[in-house]
């Protein structure tokens, strides 16, 4: 039988190699061996996705490879998640309303961000793609989310994120808004007065944690 460390490494390696069956087997061994499934998610699966994020940034991996790695991660999650206490309870690090901006149906990046936040311990309320500006605010009010995450793929639709930020800040300055997507740069974040920015899915959990520390929960 493999040790816990070996299984964590196997989870990492099979995610990176987009080996769905290998990830599923390693996850089953975690459960049957009595190891902590949350530890396996964070230090196996999520660690694997961190490596995938680096490979994406270095242009060794592209969209197909990242999606396939996400498939492997999901295969592992399907085994491990039933054994982890619900993240919607006291264990949740925070609540995030997420979606792609009105007019933009490109949701590959948004879905990866959702996955990373979910794995990273956040409760995610996903509005999907092509989300009207006001819907972000309405969903934040309904859920009491501390963070609104907005994604845009197009230069033209990106301009709508500024409107959502203005609406959110008008409602409650304590709501943190983070943005991302292909045309978004640190300069855009500054210009739009967003609170946070994730250049890729690999950095989103750290950024969300930073925002949780910097902003008071909106009640």
């Amino acid at each position: 039988m493999s040790s816990k460390e070996e299984l964590l490494q196997k989870l990492h390696d099979t995610v990176v190699a987009f080996d769905e069956e290998g990830t599923r087997q390693a996850a089953e061994e975690i459960v049957s061996g009595g190891h902590d499934p949350l530890d396996a998610v964070m230090n196996g699966l999520a660690y694997g996705m961190e490596t995938v994020g680096r490979l994406f940034k270095e242009q060794e991996y592209f969209v197909p490879e990242v999606l396939l790695c996400a498939d492997a991660l999901n295969a592992g999650m399907a085994v491990l998640k039933p054994h982890i206490p619900s993240s919607g309870g006291d264990n949740s690090l925070g609540r995030v309303v997420i979606g792609t901006i009105q007019g933009d149906v490109h949701d590959i990046g948004k879905n990866l961000v959702k996955l990373m936040l979910d794995v990273g311990g956040f409760t995610v309320h996903d509005l999907g793609n092509n989300v009207p500006y006001e819907s972000f605010i309405e969903e934040q009010e309904r859920t009491g989310a501390e963070i609104i995450g907005i994604s845009a793929m197009l230069t033209t639709t990106m301009m709508g994120m500024k409107k959502v930020i203005e609406l959110a800040k008008k409602k409650d300055p304590r709501i943190a808004v983070m943005i991302g997507g292909a045309p978004v740069t640190p300069n855009v974040v500054k210009l739009f007065k967003a609170d946070g920015y994730a250049q890729s899915a690999s950095t989103v959990v750290a950024e969300a944690k930073r925002l949780m520390g910097a902003f008071c929960p909106a009640q």
Binding site: F62, V63, P64, L67, L68, G103, T157, M158, L191
Partner: protein, 312 residues
Amino acid sequence: MSKQALIQALRGGRTAKAPWLPYAGVNCAYLINEKASDYLQDPALLAKGIVEAARKYKADGIPLLFDLSVEAEALGCALNWWPDNVPSVVSHPWSGKQPFSETGLRPQDRNSGRWPVIFEAARLAKPELEKLDCALMGLICGPLTLASHLAGVRIFTDVYKNKEFAHEVLQFASQMIALSTQFYIEMGCDVVGIVDPVSSQIKAPTFAEFVTPYCRQSVELVREAGLPSVFLICGDCTKVIEEVCLTGTDAFAIDEQLNLTFVRDVARKHGKGFVGNLKLTLSLSLGLLSPREDTLVSLACGGTEGFVLAPG
């Protein structure tokens, strides 16, 4: 304004000064105070908008329209319309990997979707653009982008997991864009571009297998018509730029994420024209850079051999 200079540069030739090709797109609707959703469905408005843009921007060439949903709509995908943007493709009838006959998709012809509107717009605009000595550019949706419209985002994993299905979708997309190419040639376009923005999001071998062969028919049709062709790609396409040069088009166009000096060297190595790359986001949309200085930098990098100045 000089149509011939644009054609010459696209073929990699030397020009007295760099020709100018503004991709005005829905900005044309803004110029004539119309909603994009009205503009893109009305031949008279389309013609008015592009002629106005060509005149205002002193363009050497102008796209008839810049809208990658045309083929998808004509084939049977549903669209969402917007007052200030191009429509979004919101249904992907082949995403279930079912046989083609069960998708509800139908091959396009000149009466499908908005093609009659586009034919009429070209008929109205072409004589006006001739008077201005401005080239009319037809832009077809690239094969991988059209495949993603038809089969959804999973086409990107199908290139690994279900290669046979991915090839089937791409083959169909290729046949349909060959028809689009023929339509634009019949309309009297002076240049035809293949616009495949998502093809920067794949590895070079994937590009060689799933993009290049499915451009071939269109590229051949344009060549047989004696017109120049361009491949337009978005994003950081550094890793596939050599493959882009092998698609067979006369020129390629890149966006602001690439260094134009690097692009120029690649283009000259392959004897291609190259088009770009005013900073659409940082300069033209947000004003974070001076558009004037940005233009001067592009002109200095691009030079006058095979270079066309355009938004990136």
